[in-house]
């Protein structure tokens, strides 16, 4: 056991219906260190955190905290023991003042006292703000700091920061880091989860990597290069399952989409992009690099304020999703639950929705047409359901994703944009969705494929566009070899200017 350990998690196992989310994971946190927890989506990071904060129950393993074995039952319980968590989503009350947010539900409540203490606390965080103003008055960064302040001020010994930087700009990140350093110096153990590789190297002392619910290893920060780190996160064992390769783009293929220096304020400043008929273009880049925002711009969910867009050689002005649909564009959004499924409606209704929206409600599809449509795609996409009348909300994530895909395939689009279609679904469904994508390209549909998993982007795409900080950082044309991943990572890391 490493010395000075404040938290030991040994042999943690968590079983979800059908999958083992965590399988014998060990995790040690020292007092006074920043420990990065890394892995792809679905690797088990958040499950491990949820186990530690009492949201999920562990099926096996022990947690020793501050010398005693514990088994937290709820987030409150964990907080009471000294394990505080700050989530990416801010769990505070926007209408309360900064001071009230830090102290609500605690012993002190007199205005004068809490205002004074909050002011001191914020000073410690290098923030000179008026703590008597409502939280909603301040930027997300400040709100994030306030939630950290609340977490820390409850005599925490372990602080978990789950993606705290995803909505912060560079200066704000630096501010957060200086706070983290102070807290570290005070002997707090900090678990830091982030998608930004640079930040890991900037602030962390050690890191633990998870993959598919297994522990890959724990390393000192100097031990691994960025590239080695990413390879360990991605792993190579997936390749055997997916032996699929994109079909060739015909030499005489016409241009489907031509975007010329498009941008929208606050999201993406400059993207130029051409997609040929039957071409599969992958988007690489980190979370928040502008991939989703670009897709939303093309689809009209975000209004373009700069640049021009052409579809099949004709200039188009897409103001809302409906315009995009009329121009043959389809879009599977990233957040399936929030933007994709209509939970209480049946599979049939969910599938026919976009086709119906395009026709307008006055030209309804007959029940028979709807049934045919639904049955066709349930069969083609192998959606696991007894019939088309089951509510989509009752399906598994992978099947929901297939229904959303079916919704868009039914519109017979010329250009299909898929934003993280394989996130959070099991390996089998993943492979099927990739197969469908490639098959559609063979049929002459152009596809833009966005994924955080570089491996699948490289394997499926004809061409890869790499994004960084809201702009295109580079573009690589296939066929790809073993060295491609390396090059993409270098472009993402800013070490090489893309071709």
């Amino acid at each position: 056991m490493p010395d000075n350990c404040i938290l030991e998690m040994r042999g943690i196992e968590i079983q979800f219906p059908g999958v083992k989310a965590l399988d014998g994971v060990d995790f040690f946190l020292r007092a006074g260190e920043v420990h990065a927890l890394l892995g792809e989506n679905g690797a088990g990071k958040s499950t491990l955190i949820k186990c530690l904060t009492g949201v999920n129950k562990k099926d096996a393993g022990t947690i020793i905290f501050d010398g005693k074995e514990i088994s937290p039952t709820s987030p409150q319980n964990a907080i009471a023991m000294g394990i505080s968590t700050v989530f990416q989503e801010i769990n505070l009350c926007p209408n309360l003042t900064v001071a009230e947010n830090i102290f609500v539900g605690r012993k002190e409540f007199k205005r004068k006292v809490i205002n004074k203490r909050a002011q001191e606390l914020m000073k410690r965080f290098h923030l000179d703000i008026d703590v008597t103003r409502p939280l909603s008055y301040y930027s997300t960064a400040v709100q994030q700091m306030v939630s950290i302040a609340r977490a820390v001020d409850i005599q925490a010994k372990v602080l978990i920061l789950d993606e705290p930087t995803s909505s912060l700009d560079e200066n704000e990140v630096q501010l957060l880091f200086s706070v983290m350093r102070d807290l570290k110096a005070e002997g707090l153990g900090i678990i830091f989860i982030t998608h930004f590789l640079d930040q890991i190297y900037a602030i962390s002392d050690r890191m633990t990597i998870l993959r598919n619910g297994h522990l890959v290893g724990t390393y000192d920060i100097g031990e691994l290069t960025k590239f080695e780190l990413v390879s360990k996160m991605i792993g190579k064992d997936m390749e055997a399952i997916f032996d699929m390769h994109p079909s060739e783009v015909k030499a005489d293929a016409s241009t489907m989409l031509n975007a010329d220096h498009i941008g929208a304020p606050g999201a993406v400043h400059d993207i130029s992009l051409a997609v040929k008929q039957g071409e599969l273009v992958g988007f690489g880049g980190l979370l928040g690099s502008g991939r989703t925002e670009t897709a939303e711009m093309i689809f009209g969910a975000n209004h373009i304020t700069k640049g021009k867009m052409e579809i099949k050689g004709k200039a188009v002005d897409i103001k809302k999703p409906f315009d995009a649909i009329m121009n043959g564009i389809a879009f599977c959004p990233e957040d399936r639950k929030r933007d994709g499924i209509i939970g209480d409606l049946s599979i049939r209704e969910n599938i026919m929705l976009a086709v119906q929206a395009r026709k307008g409600f006055l030209h309804p599809l007959s029940r028979q047409e709807q049934n045919e449509l639904a049955d066709k795609y349930i069969k083609a996409l192998a959606i696991a359901t007894p019939d088309a009348e089951k509510k989509i909300g009752e399906l598994s994530g992978g099947n929901q994703q297939k229904v959303i895909l079916a919704r868009w395939m039914a519109t017979q689009p010329d250009l299909l944009i898929l934003d993280e279609p394989t996130r959070g679904i099991d390996v089998g469904a993943k492979a099927e969705i990739q197969r469908l994508m490639i098959q559609m390209c063979g049929d002459g549909v152009s596809v833009i494929f966005i994924s955080s998993e570089l491996e699948e982007v490289i394997r499926c795409s004809n061409r890869i566009v790499i994004m960084r900080d809201g702009a295109k950082a580079g573009e690589l044309v296939g066929p790809f070899d073993g060295n491609t991943q390396n090059r993409i990572l270098q472009i993402i890391a800013g070490e090489e200017v893309g071709a």
Binding site: N91, C93, P94, N95, V104, D128, D130
Partner: protein
Amino acid sequence: MSQKSHGSNQSLISRIMNPKYIMVYATIAIFLIIYAFGAIVYGDVGFTTLRTFVNFFTDNAYYGISAVGMTMVLITGGIDLSVASVASLTGMLVAFGYTRLGISPVIMMLFSVVIGVGLGTLMGAAIHYLNVPPFITTLTGNFLARGVCSLISRESITIEHPLIDKLAGFKITLMKFSEGEWVKIKPVTHINLNVLIFVVMIIIGTIILQHTRFGRNVYAVGGNEQSAKLMGLPVGKTKVAVYAINGFCSALAGIAYLLVVKSGWNMALQGGELEVISCAVIGGTLLTGGVGYMIGTMFGVLLKSVIPALITFNGHLNSWWGKIATGALLLLFIVIQRAVVTYTDKQKAK
């Protein structure tokens, strides 16, 4: 960081300029504008006298008392449609109890307060534990109270009791110190018991909301119930308590109304719940929850009184213009609220 400012040495100005008070300021400003308008146009016929001003309080005191509880309910993000019926039931219980059963009005008043609090608690529990929408729950409560009221009596029951007369007749005559002695203000201006209760309730409500742990929880629940739960606050207890308090306020409002009309009537104060809600909303309380101040509600009540007063002073306009003016006022306020919300969102985006 752009928000860096004058934080540590909190000047009075910065405290007053706190953006969370903006809606209250809007209410007060609009009240002052309308008042100034009245003063200019009808100043010569007595609009500016202290009596006219005190009458703004007197006219709608019972709505004001009820609005104190309603403000709390709205801050939690709920709504209570039962207040007017509960007030009506209170009047009926006291009048019936004394006139027909010969029970002392004091006992009946206490009894009806118990009924009000009990019904409030029940509704709060249904809302929180059964997850029935507040709108439906309190609408059912509304029907229940109104129905029981009608079961007791279908006619108006007049109450004549020395205590009621004494309470209703209680008044403080305002004096001023002039030329070495206290003289009555001209025209003679009284403050009656209802106005006193109203003002005291506003003060108590302010203390509860601003200076107690419970008050803080009320705001937190309305701001984000999920977060409040995660912060370990007693969400359920807070919600139930707020409806119970509102039941108390409704009963008290019923007593105040009884002192005005000196009778119980099953159809009294019909539609009053929406008057009460609109007082709170005009006073800057957000129906989405989380925002609202007692002082704003008080000015909301005053605004409700000043419009009919203007129409009376005008003498030519019909009273129904009051309804349209109230509607227009509501529209104005929600548009201002919307603009404020959009503005703060934009500020934050920067």
